[in-house]
């Protein structure tokens, strides 16, 4: 099945699928058993993905832990997995957030009795989703990638559509149509690319490594990039393709929002690098000014929008758009600092945004509302909740010493070396970010204790269990970012020289 020894990545990717099947085999009523299986599987996957990170050789730039097997040889489609320094940490991040999501789903999820009792199907879809996401980050054959990319939509469709909030039907529909529309062209581009390979070599192939060598005549790289890029731009999302996001994030149940914001948003950024920068550097370069402008608009637009939202979940949702726009800007600039920042920020954002959405879930659980105006002074009855909210918020506003700072600052340093005015505009996000976050925090946690919040319970048990690992990582990665930057270093250097080869930004 694979040519390089132990199929570690296959195990990581498909173990959740096995778990999903196990969940189906368990009785409908054995909720405890189902949860135990889900937790065990996600924990094992986390352990294996950490093992993968440990086995990774930091000094080497190329694909490691590679596995390959023929799949549909007649069409040149093969089964190929592998990671490099860029994607490496997305696996443990994904695995961790799925563990957190399983724990956060310990209490029944859903807005009505029927969905709350459908524990079996909930965990089935959740585990299936994990395979989809991990597959996206590990697949190195374009068809395989596309399968995972699309397959991931189905569990998501059911998770939001069945276990979401009041407007879940609308949100699901929008999410689904939006992403489908985005990725339809990607399929065309993938097939076209396979065909181009056939034209020049006489054999179909969808192998990412081989396709990188392919010489494409201009303007093919541009329109191929555009077709891929649209799918990624929707997924991140990049302004103006972002309007599915607030609805989907808000309507999804908390554990699913954590996954949407924590890992699914990274799929878009990952795509921009793996299939944009690495496959069509000339195409990305040509689109760079446009993408950069959209990213900067995204930062300022989403930040200002976050400022005036009334629902705390929407505040965090828009903040996520702003933060990921900065990451896209980092990809576009593609120099050593900006790409290091991208790697760092993908992981960091996943962690603090997960913590923030969990906090939102806890707020909603305590008060039955997410409207900011309904809150006040919650820090007094719930001091731990206040401290956790504070740390996650400070991570998000990029306080030095916490994880959000390193990625944000590296990206800005990189952008500054590319186009200074971009950096100045993007840095305004630092101020706006502090403003909407602190103002939200103030209205919820500070001020006179609002009457209905006076008896609110503090965090305990499961609340702490899901939160503490994230907060520890917020601090640890803020102090020791080299845990990520050093293993990613060689890959980043290779990316930079590739970008430099096509004469990047002035």
């Amino acid at each position: 099945m694979n040519s390089t020894g132990f199929p570690l990545l296959s195990l990581i990717v498909f173990l959740p699928l096995l778990g999903a099947v196990l969940v189906l085999l368990l009785g409908r009523r054995s909720h405890a058993g189902i949860r135990a299986v889900a937790l065990a599987v996600t924990l094992i996957v986390l352990g294996l993905s950490l093992a993968a990170a440990a086995l990774f050789r930091p000094a080497e730039a190329g694909i490691q832990l590679a596995e390959q097997a023929p799949w549909i040889p007649s069409l040149g489609i093969s089964y190929r997995l592998g990671v490099d320094g860029f994607s490496l940490f997305l696996l443990p991040l994904t695995a961790l957030l799925f563990v957190i999501a399983v724990l956060a789903s310990w209490k029944p999820v859903g807005s009505d009795e029927a969905s709350r009792s459908a524990v079996q199907s909930y965990f089935f879809w959740l585990l299936l989703l994990e395979t989809g996401v991990l597959g996206v980050f590990a697949a190195l054959d374009l068809v395989l990638f596309y399968v995972f990319w699309e397959a991931m939509l189905i569990p998501m469709y059911f998770l939001i559509g069945r276990w979401g909030g009041e407007r879940r039907a609308y949100a699901t529909m929008k999410f689904f149509i939006y992403t489908m529309a985005g990725s339809a062209l990607m399929l065309v581009a993938i097939l076209a690319l396979g065909y181009f390979a056939y034209q020049s070599t006489g054999a179909w192939t969808f192998d990412w490594q081989t396709l990188r060598e392919l010489k494409l005549a201009w303007p093919a790289p541009l329109w191929l990039f555009a077709m891929f890029g649209l799918a990624f731009a929707v997924k991140v999302p990049v302004f103006p393709f972002h309007t599915w996001l607030p609805d989907a994030y808000v309507e999804a149940p908390t554990p699913v929002t954590v996954l949407l914001a924590g890992v699914l948003s990274k799929m878009g950024v990952y795509g921009f690098v793996r299939f944009g920068l690495q496959l069509f550097p000339e195409g990305l370069r040509a689109a760079a000014p446009w993408l950069a402008v959209l990213a900067i608009i995204g930062i300022l637009y989403a930040s200002l929008s976050a400022l005036m939202q009334k629902d705390v979940k929407r505040v965090i949702a828009y903040s996520s758009v702003a933060h990921l726009s900065l990451v896209v800007l980092g990809v576009v600039v593609a120099n050593a600092q900006s790409l290091a920042g991208v790697v760092m920020q993908m992981v960091s954002h996943g962690i603090y945004v997960a913590a923030l959405f969990l906090i939102v879930g806890m707020l909603e659980e305590r008060r039955g509302t997410r409207l900011i105006a309904e809150f006040g002074g919650l820090w007094k009855p719930a001091p731990l909740l206040g401290v956790c909210f504070l740390i996650a918020m400070l991570g998000a506003v990029g306080l030095p010493g916490l994880n959000g700072f390193v990625g944000e600052f590296l990206i800005l340093v990189g952008v500054f070396q590319g186009v200074r005015v971009y950096a100045v505009l993007a840095a305004l996000g630092m101020i706006l970010g502090a403003w909407y976050m602190l103002w939200t925090f103030q209205r919820i946690m500070q001020g006179p204790v609002e009457a209905r919040s006076a008896g609110a319970a503090d965090m305990r048990g499961m609340d702490l269990l899901v939160m503490v690992p994230l907060l520890v990582l917020i601090i640890v990665l803020g102090v020791f970012p080299n845990l990520i930057l050093v293993p990613a270093g060689a890959t980043i250097n290779a990316l930079v020289s590739q970008a430099a080869a096509v004469a990047w930004l002035p």
């Binding site: 799949w71 089964y79 306080l399 800005l412 500054f416 070396q417 602190l438 500070q446 970012p481």
Partner: protein, 622 residues
């Protein structure tokens, strides 16, 4: 001793960890022991370093590598030289006294452990700022102290005013920090390193006049935020919502002086940028003057001291702007003593009067609080520049250097000195002299603070008197000590001119005090009449020149309006509307959104799933 300098950071960090995790269980007594001994030990280490670095041009001690991203390489390293050692000693020393004072002041507070955790965290962050050997590490401390300031201003977060003030401080500082951050980026772009020693060594070869001016201006933008200078000073008066010991420590003695320290640290660059230096000196002088005018009419004792702090920081920037870095650091040191003292005395008044701080509702307190009165008087004399008190020497040094540079700056400084004497003795006379205007019940309960509060005040009072003798003209220990770092140009032998200027500023100070005595003791009706006669001016001053209102109208509100427009109209109607419109268009052409909603998407989803399963199955079973 230098090898153990890292302990200076370790002790406060341990204090933070112990009190954060166990503070609510171990009891108030243990909490205060942990917190105070952490800072006490840190102070001892700082004293060792202070002695150890004498005559040294600096030792760098790497702790660990923080960030490596290509050529962007940042170490966490300590820079131990006379400048950082002096600053660290002042910070830990004053912090130690204020920690002790806080034991009494915060004794009844239910969030006692949290208070000391924040306070220790502040010292930790401040020491990172001071001991940093590179810009980014300094930035860590810079924003770290900003965080502690935010948390401590909003310590009593149930009060909306306190929460507002904390948030305002953080965001206004973020504006300055953005300048600082861009400055750091520009430095990295020019030098490829952020290490001070490297940047300073290579600066003359690399930086042209435009680049060095841009860098220093950006750094100075950061300084105007942290050190509350025009145009970013607006957060500091509101910061008085925090507990008074915090105002003494963070918003007077230490954190707000970070900007001055930063400029002194970067003197190599500022020396190369005469334009920036002129901007720094002018902003400093202007801030000194304007803040003093606002202090003249303020009724809140703590806010008077806050304006005074802004004004005195202005003096320090005036000093570093004219190249008198050692004089700026000297004034920073004496100011730390006497301003902390004044704040602690104000806290003692609040402690006695159940939190009353409006000077018009006080009066006659010297009878009830003789010790507090005495130390306040010492602090006021030092601030006003009464001869032989510490502030006299340090302020005079600045005025003298300003005079050599530009008589206009000197004149503004001199005018400020006059106003300073007036406003602080107004505060003194109105609070402590005359008949009391306090409520009877409060007056009867008024009592002196316990020893744990009064002893730190006494120590600071002694320092406020003798602190000036370390920097006597011509015998200056401070200047000599800082010499290896700052290479202070020795002012030309002045002789008569300097003594004349000395006499003039002494007379100015005494004149200001005399005027305050006349206005507030001899003829107390006069100020009220004056404020009526010059009502527009009085209103302008008491409304702080409407700067807050200006920022609200010109920056905050417009941004909120834009945000509201996006959030409520543009995003849901226009951007999303376009998307929905496209979907509807597609619907008209065939498959409508409506029919999709009737379950077709679900069947579509299922068909994809089936396809995936088949493909995977094919692969797995093949």
């Amino acid at each position: 001793m230098l090898a153990y300098a890292w302990l200076m950071l370790l002790f406060p960090l341990l204090g933070v960890l112990i009190n954060a995790f166990f503070g609510r269980r171990i009891g108030k007594r243990a909490v205060s022991w942990v917190a105070c001994s952490a800072i006490g030990l840190s102070f001892l280490v700082a004293l060792g370093v202070l002695m150890g670095t004498a005559g040294s041009t600096g030792v760098e001690q790497p702790l660990f590598t923080w960030i490596s991203a290509g050529s962007f390489h940042v170490e966490f390293s300590l820079l131990l030289d006379p400048l950082s050692a002096l600053m660290a000693a002042v910070v830990t020393g004053v912090s130690f006294l204020i920690h002790i004072y806080s034991i009494g002041y915060m004794a009844e507070d239910p969030r006692y452990a949290r208070y000391f955790t924040y306070l220790n965290l502040f010292v930790f962050a401040m020491l990172i700022l001071v001991l940093a050997n590179n810009y980014l590490m300094m930035y860590v401390g810079w924003e770290g102290v900003g965080l502690c300031s935010y948390l401590l201003i909003g310590f009593w977060f149930e009060r909306k005013a306190a929460a507002d003030a904390g948030k305002k401080a953080f965001i206004v500082n973020r504006v300055g920090d953005m300048g600082f951050a861009l400055g750091i980026m520009l430095i990295f772009a020019m030098f490829g390193t952020l290490q001070f020693s490297e940047v300073f060594r290579r600066a003359p070869g690399i930086l042209g006049p435009a680049a060095v001016t841009a860098i220093t201006l950006l750094l100075f933008v950061g300084a105007t935020g942290k050190s509350a200078q025009i145009p970013l000073y607006i957060w500091l008066p509101d910061a008085m919502e925090g507990p008074t010991p915090v105002s003494a420590l963070i918003h007077a003695a230490t954190m707000v002086t970070a900007g001055v320290y930063m400029v002194a640290r970067n003197h190599v660059l500022f020396d190369m940028a005469p334009t920036t230096a002129a901007v720094v000196a002018s902003i400093g002088a202007a801030t000194a003057f304007f803040a003093a005018t606002m202090a003249l009419v303020e009724k809140d004792l703590k806010r008077i001291l806050a304006y005074s702090t802004i004004s005195q920081l202005g003096y320090m920037f005036l000093a570093v702007g004219v190249g008198a870095y050692a004089a700026g650091m000297f004034h920073l040191t004496t100011h730390a003593f006497f301003k902390a003292l004044l704040f602690l005395a104000a806290g003692s008044v609040m402690h006695a009067m159940a939190g009353e701080i409006n000077i018009q509702k006080l009066g006659g307190l010297r009878e009830k609080l003789p010790r507090t009165y005495a130390v306040f008087a010492v602090g006021a004399a030092a601030l006003a520049g009464v001869p032989l008190f510490s502030g006299f020497f340090s302020k005079d040094e600045i005025l003298w250097r300003a005079f050599l540079h530009s008589p206009v700056l000197w004149l503004v400084g001199l005018g400020t000195a006059f106003l300073t004497a007036v406003y602080i003795f107004r505060a003194l006379f109105v609070t402590f002299w005359g008949e009391t205007r306090a409520e009877k019940k409060l007056w009867e309960h008024a009592h002196e603070a316990p020893a744990v509060m009064s002893i730190p005040m006494l120590i600071l009072a002694v320092l406020a008197v003798i602190g000036g003798y370390i920097g006597l003209p011509r015998l200056s220990l401070v200047e000599g000590y800082l010499e290896p770092v700052l290479h202070a140009e020795h002012a030309a032998e002045a002789g008569a001119t300097e003594w004349v200027l000395l006499a003039v500023s002494a007379l100015i100070a005494l004149g200001g005090i005399a005027l305050a005595y006349y206005l507030y003791v001899v003829r107390p009706a006069v100020p009220a009449n004056l404020s009526k006669q010059f009502a527009p001016l009085y209103t302008l001053l008491s409304r702080k020149y409407y700067v807050d209102e200006f920022y609200m109208a010109v920056v905050v509100e417009p941004l909120r309006q834009v945000g509201r427009f996006i959030a409520e109209l543009f995003d849901p109607r226009v951007v999303d509307g376009a998307v929905n419109g496209l979907a509807r268009l597609a619907g008209v052409c065939g498959e409508g959104l409506g029919t999709l909603q009737n379950g077709r998407v679900r069947s579509y989803a299922l068909s994809i799933l089936v396809g995936v399963v088949i493909i995977l199955g094919y692969f797995l079973l093949r």
